[in-house]
């Protein structure tokens, strides 16, 4: 077993689980689930935190957890009613407990004002219920331990004051049954000094009524020791009530009684009624079974593994390509092996990704706190509903989603929901609802934040955007386009900035955070009914399915997830509008086309004739068609960040290495299809080109 530091780390890891269980249990209680198992689980979580904190002498944590636990114990015992007010206090106490754990973990002092306030809140609950609080300090002092073991040290010559005690020890029924052994108690006494023992056989029955499990032997003991009478009583603390005990100091050291039977200091455990213990070697497998069947591994190790698997997949693609290019391709055996290799590499990659996958539940639980705080700050009543907590997402995604989600949740409570008065006037319930959901959909994760508030105020958004010069004054926009204005940099709904969500962070920051994760964010709103933000994210950040395409002689990759359809249009389906806009007519609809080569600033090196069109969906749910020269392949590509190695390039999300060793850029369809965007080439004269660049021979 590891050092104390390791166990301390274990404690804080365990605290995370316990705090999650606490938060979950309280949420269930709030939802009306007040049966004893729920309340017990909540109690146990706090109790376990207190227990562990005590072991590491984390006084603030112990003090607070103790009072918290006292209130929960009262709820458990039916002495306090778990009404909405109490649950409100309990939830905030859980939040504070989280803060205290975090402070302790970072060895920082806790906020004393907050602690005092929360302690007072809990005390008020107890006082309301007429319940006395026990002082944690008393219970937690080490003095509460029953034995003074310093006194078990053999009396040394520095303690010349020897006293004599006469001890009568008469075990009674229950002493054996409770696992006690009189010989061991006498042996303990022997450690205090020298001992003379007289066995009293007077209670011994005849064989007919003899019962092995009832003690019949009594002892009269004379002990010469420097220890106090109290410490001798403490030896018998555990058998109090299971024996008759008299301890009397002997006035003068006279009159040695004749011992029938002298007990050695080293008492053989012969009186023990149990079989001698078998010294089985510790079975490590059995021990592993006792713990949770999980393995905690440093993230760094997993990342190393993922990186290696990423390289393996590149290597696999290169080997496959090489074989394809040589005469070996004619050998069916080799091709079969290559195919196995590909499948194995893919299995391996999926298995590794599964290690990193974690349920979004802890993230969602953190959000419930954000909702509570936002509700308190704005004076609104909010019910927080979560759906799909078990949905598993890459750990990095979870970490990096915390900030955007926090912002959007605050936004929903602050700007989305109305005050209770306004809601009542509008014929709604006073308590608004914020619903956070997660689900898997065809290789991506969909997160949505939905409120049942007033919906977006589109006239105001439009007016703000015009005033700030973000759009032309006469531009006529569809509803979805107006909603998308919220994500523009520099757009801040100044008229409604509040302390809470208006922290100088606009939704554009949220959008950037999401797109940097390879995701999209969209918004829908129905006036009077509410607003919904939807985040579409890739399952993993390391690998994705991509289409290998070529544009003006460059090989590029576009995420398969964003391509809805690939078509080769008939010339008659393309309609030129104005000077340089081309519309595609498809199934009776016109959608704009975007020339990817021009957009990225490539110069066409060849005229490949009829272009291909990839239809993608933009973030405001309209479609557009990207014009490319060819689609070569659809394959899994390993994502290599461009920003760490080169710099951010508009229109490009990352790079990858293809099977032949060439580097290919991965397109960011959202950025390319951004509505009415100017060609990037104008703004990005440093656009990198990888002609002739080669990764590996």
């Amino acid at each position: 077993m590891g050092s104390l530091n390791t166990i301390r780390d274990t404690f804080f890891e365990e605290c995370e689980d316990l705090l999650a269980a606490l938060s979950e249990g309280l949420a269930a209680m709030l939802g009306g689930m007040l049966e004893s198992e729920t309340v017990n689980a909540v109690f146990r979580a706090v109790h376990s935190i207190k227990g562990g904190a005590g072991a590491f002498a984390l006084a603030d944590l112990v003090t607070f957890a103790h009072r918290f636990e006292t209130v929960l114990d009262a709820v458990r015992g039916g002495r306090l009613d778990a009404d909405a007010d109490l649950l409100h206090i309990l939830q905030r106490s859980a939040d504070h407990l989280t803060d205290l754990v975090e402070a302790a973990r970072n060895s920082e002092p806790a906020d004393p004002d907050a602690s005092a306030r929360f302690l007072a809140n809990l005390e008020a609950c107890l006082a309301d219920g007429g319940i006395a609080d026990t002082a944690p300090d008393q219970e937690f002092s080490f003095a509460a331990v029953t034995l003074d073991f310093a006194l078990l040290e053999p009396a040394d010559s520095d303690h010349p004051t020897q006293h004599q005690f006469d001890i009568r020890f008469a075990p009674r029924a229950g002493l054996f049954a409770n696992g006690h052994d009189p010989a061991l108690l006498i042996a303990t006494l022997a450690e205090f000094g020298s001992l003379q023992t007289t066995l009293d056989l007077s209670r011994l029955p005849d064989w007919g009524t003899f019962d092995l499990e009832t003690p019949f032997l009594d002892w009269n003991i004379r002990l010469t020791t420097s220890a106090s009478e109290t410490s001798l009583h403490e030896v018998f603390d555990f058998v109090d009530g299971l024996c008759e005990l008299e301890i009397r100091p002997v006035p003068e050291p006279v009159l040695e009684p004749q011992p029938d039977f002298e007990l050695e200091t080293n008492v053989p455990a012969s009186l023990k009624s149990q079989a001698a213990p078998k010294a089985d070697p510790l079975d490590p497998a059995a021990d592993a079974r006792a713990a949770n069947p999980t393995l905690r591994v440093a993230l760094e190790r997993v990342d190393r593994l993922i990186n290696a698997v990423g390289e393996l997949i590149i290597n696999q693609a290169m080997v496959a390509q090489r074989i394809q290019d040589t005469a070996l391709a004619a050998d069916a055996d080799i091709l079969a092996h290559v195919d196995d290799y590909r499948l194995l590499a893919r299995d391996l990659q999926e298995a590794v990704m599964a290690i990193r996958a974690q349920p979004v539940k802890p993230l969602f639980q953190r959000m419930s706190r954000i909702v509570r705080e936002a509700a308190d700050a704005t004076g609104k009543q909010v019910q927080f509903v979560t759906v799909g907590e078990a949905t598993e997402v890459d750990k990095t995604l979870i970490e990096r989603l915390a900030d955007p989600l926090t912002h959007m949740i605050r936004n929903s409570v602050d700007h989305g929901l109305e005050t209770p008065e306004v809601r009542l006037a509008a014929g709604k319930e006073a308590c608004g609802t914020v619903r956070l959901s997660a689900a898997h959909r065809s290789g991506s994760v969909i997160l949505s934040i939905r409120d049942d508030g007033a919906g977006l105020n589109r006239p105001r958004i439009l007016e703000t955007a015009r005033r700030k010069g973000l759009i032309a004054a006469d531009l006529d926009l569809a509803d979805a386009e107006i909603d998308a204005l919220l994500f523009l940099p520099g757009f801040s709904t100044a008229a409604s900035v509040s302390n809470l969500s208006g922290r100088g962070v606009g939704l554009d920051v949220v959008r950037n955070a999401v797109t940097s994760l390879g995701g999209r964010v969209s918004i829908t709103s129905i006036p009077g009914k509410g607003t919904e933000f939807t985040l579409t994210l890739p399952l993993t950040l390391a690998v994705m399915d991509g289409m290998v395409i070529s544009v003006a002689g460059q090989t590029l990759v576009i995420p398969t997830i964003s391509v809805l359809e690939t078509i080769r249009p008939a010339p008659s389906d393309l309609h030129r509008v104005g000077t340089d806009e081309v519309l595609l007519r498809i199934r009776g609809q016109f959608i704009p086309t975007i020339d990817v080569a021009r957009c990225l600033g490539f110069t066409a090196t060849e005229d490949s004739g009829q272009p291909l069109l990839l239809i993608v969906e933009t973030e405001n749910q309209t479609q557009c068609a990207l014009m490319v020269n060819a689609v070569h392949d659809q394959r899994q590509v390993v994502i290599k960040g461009l920003e760490t190695n080169y710099g951010a390039v508009n229109g490009v999300s990352a790079a990858t290495v293809l099977g032949d060793g060439r580097i290919a850029l991965i397109l960011d369809p959202d950025a390319i299809a951004a509505p009415r965007a100017a060609p990037f080439a104008v703004n990005a004269p440093h656009f990198p080109k990888f002609e002739g660049a080669s990764h590996a021979g």
């Binding site: 050092s3 166990i7 219970e139 034995l147 409770n178 213990p277």
Partner: protein, 124 residues
């Protein structure tokens, strides 16, 4: 002959501490994560002493004590109760249930080792 301890506690932290303290003292320590697991391990390990938490899911510490004392195998094994409460009525309750002794959390290494030695007859 090494003393074998069975520590039953739903807290990973306490199990970790207990295992460290017991192994540092030269004992063998097996752990169980709740009362039911504890009973299963009790049957497998035939420990010399059981140290159990009270508040646990599935089967609490009192349940563990009653199950061991009411069983047929090794039923007079010493059982120590780990408790955060030192109140007398809780001790009385543990004793009435059949506990041999109790240890008040937070425990000090030497104290718990001494108690285990004393109660099992293992001398230094």
């Amino acid at each position: 002959m090494s003393i074998k301890v069975l520590a039953i506690d739903d807290s990973r932290t306490i199990r970790g501490l207990m295992k460290k303290v017991m192994e540092d003292a030269g004992f063998i320590c097996a752990c169980a994560v709740d009362g039911e697991d504890g009973m299963a391990r009790f049957a497998e390990e035939a420990p010399d002493v059981v140290i159990t938490d009270i508040n646990m899911p599935k089967l609490d510490g009192y349940g563990v004590i009653r199950s061991i004392r009411g069983g047929t195998v090794n039923r007079t094994v010493p059982i120590l109760v780990l408790t955060t409460e030192s109140a007398d009525h809780l001790k009385a309750r543990a004793r009435d249930a059949g506990a041999t002794g109790w240890i008040v959390k937070p425990f000090e290494d030497e104290v718990i080792v001494s108690i285990v030695r004393r109660i099992t007859g293992a001398r230094v």
